[in-house]
């Protein structure tokens, strides 16, 4: 159908200047096989359906480790579906199914032998609206994943470390026993990020993590993404194109279930190869 779906181009992060902590990423590569560092995530011919609705059409892309990829596109374009396939959360929706190859460190996530419960420990997720467990304290929210997965060690230490990572520690260190609901929306979202980080996932999926937050809280989340990139591979879905431009190394543009174009964020926003991408990022539609 369209040449861009077949070519996957990976170029090192274009935002090195801002990204002082980032470890060097593999240089430009055309095929993953030739890479010095193999891709963290490799998506090949991914199709997804909701009942009879064909929501994703043959998506191909590659995400290098310790980088941020943003998925943009108008509502209903398939970007959230794409994200949910990566930790098989799509299976929770009745009638939803996905076909194709989704390689995480070379292992096909969609394989029948892969247990989605164990997969989700390696691929964490942060949702559109903060969803802390309402009856648990701040500390227990962060430690929830540790308990669920039977991870031992000093939980208090892990709680402190992940709360520091998510830039929330200073605001909550004196009231760890308080309910998670006593926090503001932005704090709750950072708590949810801490909760996701506590189980040390390799990939972090963020589904419009700042869309319910005010600009200041949004800026904190974006700063956090920059920090986290040094350790995690992050995929973020966003409606906010400025946000995509600010936080990501690569951007993928989805439209009506097709991956129209994927490439370095700078290129997508300044010199896209596809007319539709250009129209979208310049605000002509969407």
């Amino acid at each position: 159908m369209n040449a861009f779906q077949e070519t996957t181009v990976v170029i090192p992060p274009s935002r090195r200047m801002l990204d002082l902590q980032a470890k060097p990423v593999a240089p430009a590569l055309r095929t993953p096989a030739s890479a010095q560092e193999p891709p963290k995530l490799q998506v090949e011919k991914l199709d997804a359906w909701y009942g009879k609705t064909h929501a994703l059409h043959g998506v191909n892309l590659v995400v290098p480790p310790r980088s941020v990829m943003a998925a943009i596109g108008p509502s209903g374009c398939g970007k959230s579906t794409f994200l949910r396939c990566l930790n098989r959360m799509h299976e929770l929706i009745p009638g939803a199914r996905a076909e194709g190859t989704l390689l995480l460190d070379g292992q096909n996530l969609l394989g029948r032998d892969v247990d989605p419960v164990s997969l989700r420990r390696r691929v964490g997720m942060v949702f559109q609206r903060p969803n802390p467990f309402p009856t648990l304290s701040i500390r227990d929210n962060v430690a929830a994943g540790l308990k669920l997965n039977g991870i031992g060690g000093n939980h208090d230490e892990i709680v402190e470390r992940t709360l520091r990572q998510s830039a929330l520690w200073d605001e909550v260190k004196d009231r760890l026993a308080a309910s998670a609901l006593s926090l503001s929306g932005g704090q709750q979202q950072r708590l949810c990020i801490a909760r996701a980080l506590a189980v040390e996932p390799e990939v972090l999926l963020m589904d419009e993590p700042a869309s319910a937050l005010d600009p200041i809280a949004t800026a904190k989340i974006e700063d956090l993404i920059h920090e986290l990139k040094s350790r995690y591979t992050i995929l973020i879905v966003t409606h906010n194109m400025q946000q995509a431009a600010r936080v990501s190394d690569q951007t993928a543009f989805f439209y009506m279930g097709d991956l129209i174009e994927v490439g370095p964020t700078e290129k997508i926003f300044t010199n896209p190869s596809e007319k539709r991408t250009e129209d979208y990022v310049t605000g002509k539609f969407g």
């Binding site: 959360m89 009856t135 006593s182």
Partner: protein, 315 residues
């Protein structure tokens, strides 16, 4: 154009409506108050003849000799309701969880419909079924089996008669199940999907997500559902009278026959002779009223405590 200072004429309708609703609301309080007053007035001869403390805490009930002690009935009411809730609550929560979280969607509507049908069966039918089907079944094999396996507990000792606290509790459990289950199903529907997804995304299994996200969120609602069921169990008369054995005694064993407050009122009121006997029955009514009130208050405190969550929540 200035906004007119004079209220719009439509306000007459508003004011009338406000009065009409206030009258309806007030009427409810007035009726409840009158019932209480009347019960108190009828009960007065019994209070003065026996004394409140002796009435509440003695266990002799012999209308012929004008001995009236309410304890066997209070005990019977509380025990049968507790047995009913102990059986109905886990079953209801399990049923509701199965329907809303685990089971196939196609099963939801038929099962919900079946639950409604269960609620529509008249209590005398439950009583008949209990008397002819359930009581013989309890007599053998259920009660002998319980005596054999759990007989070291005082609740499961003595001869397996069939009629008794256990029979009343089981029949009450069946009768309150529809209420508790259907309210619990509605409560579980209010759990935000994002909460479940949050747990699943952390690597929780389905059961773990229910335990960590669904049940804690739904807990106040489930307590409320149990309370509704308990209210029905406390006041249920017909079916209980038919299977409890109607004997004003106190036994630790659930196999033994007993009596409840509503059952004794229904059985003896028509034949009661003398102000004291009638008064004693009215006083039992007041006691039932009081028990319901106290349990309601406890449940309300519980719901609020649970809804508040850990310390300092919702500051």
């Amino acid at each position: 154009m200035a906004i007119p200072v004079q209220a719009r004429s439509g306000n007459v309708g508003d004011r009338t409506w406000a009065w009409v609703t206030a009258i309806f609301g007030g009427l409810l309080l007035v009726v409840a108050g009158l019932i209480l007053l009347e019960l108190g007035r009828v009960a007065a001869p019994a209070w003065s003849h026996i004394g409140i403390v002796k009435f509440l805490f003695s266990s002799d009930w012999d209308p012929v000799q004008e001995k009236f002690g309410a304890l066997p009935f209070i005990y019977g009411t509380l025990v049968t309701s507790a047995v009913a809730l102990a059986i109905a609550l886990p079953v209801s929560v399990g049923l509701a969880l199965f329907l809303s979280e685990m089971g196939p969607r196609s099963l939801r509507t038929p099962v919900a419909y079946a639950i409604e049908v269960l609620a529509a069966i008249p209590s005398v039918i439950y009583g008949l079924w209990g008397l002819f089907v359930m009581v013989p079944w309890l007599r053998s094999p259920v009660e002998p089996f319980l005596a054999k396996t759990l007989g070291f507990l005082p609740f499961f000792q003595g001869p397996p008669i069939g009629l008794g606290y256990l029979a009343a509790g089981v029949i009450l459990a069946l009768m309150i199940l529809p209420t508790v289950a259907s309210v619990t199903i509605e409560v579980l529907k209010t759990v935000p999907p994002a909460l479940k997804e949050g747990a699943l995304a952390l690597g929780a299994t389905r059961w773990e997500s229910i335990r960590i996200a669904v049940l804690p969120y739904a807990r106040p609602g489930i307590i409320g559902a149990s309370l509704l069921g308990l209210g029905r169990a406390l006041g249920e008369t017909m079916a209980v009278t038919m299977v409890i054995g109607n004997s004003p005694e106190i036994h630790a064993s659930l196999f033994a026959p007993g009596y409840t407050l509503p059952a004794v009122i229904a059985n003896e009121f028509a034949e009661a002779t003398g102000d004291v006997h009638v008064g004693a029955l009215a006083a039992l009514g007041l006691v039932l009223f009081g028990i319901t009130l106290i349990l309601n208050a406890i449940a309300r405190i519980l719901v609020e405590a649970v809804a508040r969550g850990p310390r300092g929540a919702r500051a």
